[in-house]
Amino acid sequence: MNGRLKPTQDLVAGLFFLLLGIGALIIAYNYAPGTASRFGPGMAPRVFSWCLIVGGALIVGRAILGRSDAIERLSFRPIFWVTLAIVVFGLVLPPFGLVITTLICAVIARMAEPGLVQKWTETAIVAVVLALLGIFAFVRALELPIPLWPDLS
């Protein structure tokens, strides 16, 4: 048992479960619980939330009293760029079409690793090849209903 509280794996996970349970329980109060024989829509959310609260508290307690692994260092660079690439794909595709979206997203994705995007020829090739794959494999061959070009109307 150590004196100072470190954000160990178990402590953070336990707190996460605990807070999620409390949040879900508060929302669950908007749904009718029903009776023991005729469950309403609120019964299952309440039961699951309580389980999370109790379990989360147990994990927090175990983390404070016992030992738990430290959290590995987080690297924000890949999280940021990979997530951004997906979000941009979702938002840019409907108005601008698959081709432009693919070109933008390929560049964003390659930002995730240092020095990668600066290999500009490789980046350009990756982007163009993926865009061509999109045109020919997905839209021409599989006939998926994806817009290819911006909607100018």
């Binding site: 021409r140 209903p145 994806i146 290819l148 070009w149 909607d151 100018l152 109307s153």
Partner: protein, 328 residues
Amino acid sequence: MRRTSLDCVRAFVLVVAATLLAGTAVAQDNFPNRALRIVVPFPPGGPNDVLARLVSDHLSKVWGQPAVVENRPGGGGNLAADLVVKAPADGYTLLIGATGIMAVNQFVYKNLPYSSSRDLVAATMLAHAPLILTVGTHVTATTLADYVAFVKANPGKRNWAHPGVGTSPQLAAATFVARAGLDMASIPYRGTTAIVDAQLKGEIDWTMDVMHSAIPLHRGGKVRALAVTAKQRWPLFPEIPSMAEAGYPDVDAAAWFCIAVHAGTPRPIVERLGAEIARGMKSEDSKQRLASFGMLDISGTPDEARRYIDAQIAYWRPIVEGLKITVE
């Protein structure tokens, strides 16, 4: 939406020209000059989807422009309707409209992002079919009257099933239960196939099923069709009595489908769409494919569609309000 860049430029020039002329005459004359899309409010496989693909097949052949079918399931069809309402009012985005979107949802859902009467206009009806009341073979009654008598002798013991609150089978079935004064439990299932499964096992007695699922089971002797929810017998299956014959003329619910577009679409385009789609629906091939789903073609003009839908709204409104069904 497949387009070459040349088409793009052409479309762009057209739009600019149309805006400059402050009119839509140019756009109308060569409608359609690019791909259309047909939004289906349900996942692939059901009658909505099949109708959309029939329409798509016909339009792309006649007009030489692809008509891409896009499935946007969710929220009782409201997601798809909202998508079409937010698309430009140019007649390029078509919606497969049905009982929910066009008539019932406005009374069932509390907060709809669109109003079907204000924001959508039907170009043509497509097809319709009544629902069928089927009982499982564990039920001995062979007529609706027998069955009603059986339930009245066993109050509170029998069950009926529906595929979700606010769907037309549920509303039609609830109307029948109310009119017949039955004391039964209603059991919700996820989708019609789950209901049929439960019916074969005797878990529930009856349901209001759609034609294409009920008829093969009826013919194969796995369920018994007791009535079609209509005033008359259905021409495709004249052996099944109508609800009116059984004494419940109020239970008159049909599954019907139309093609709807944004209400702001220029009238000539709506009429062109309606006329061409109706022509496709009336072909022998389409009729045969419809018949395999138990449906009959009712395509026609936009005005006929308006009258059909208005009559449906007038029919459903008091029913939904009477049953006090709302969804947040």
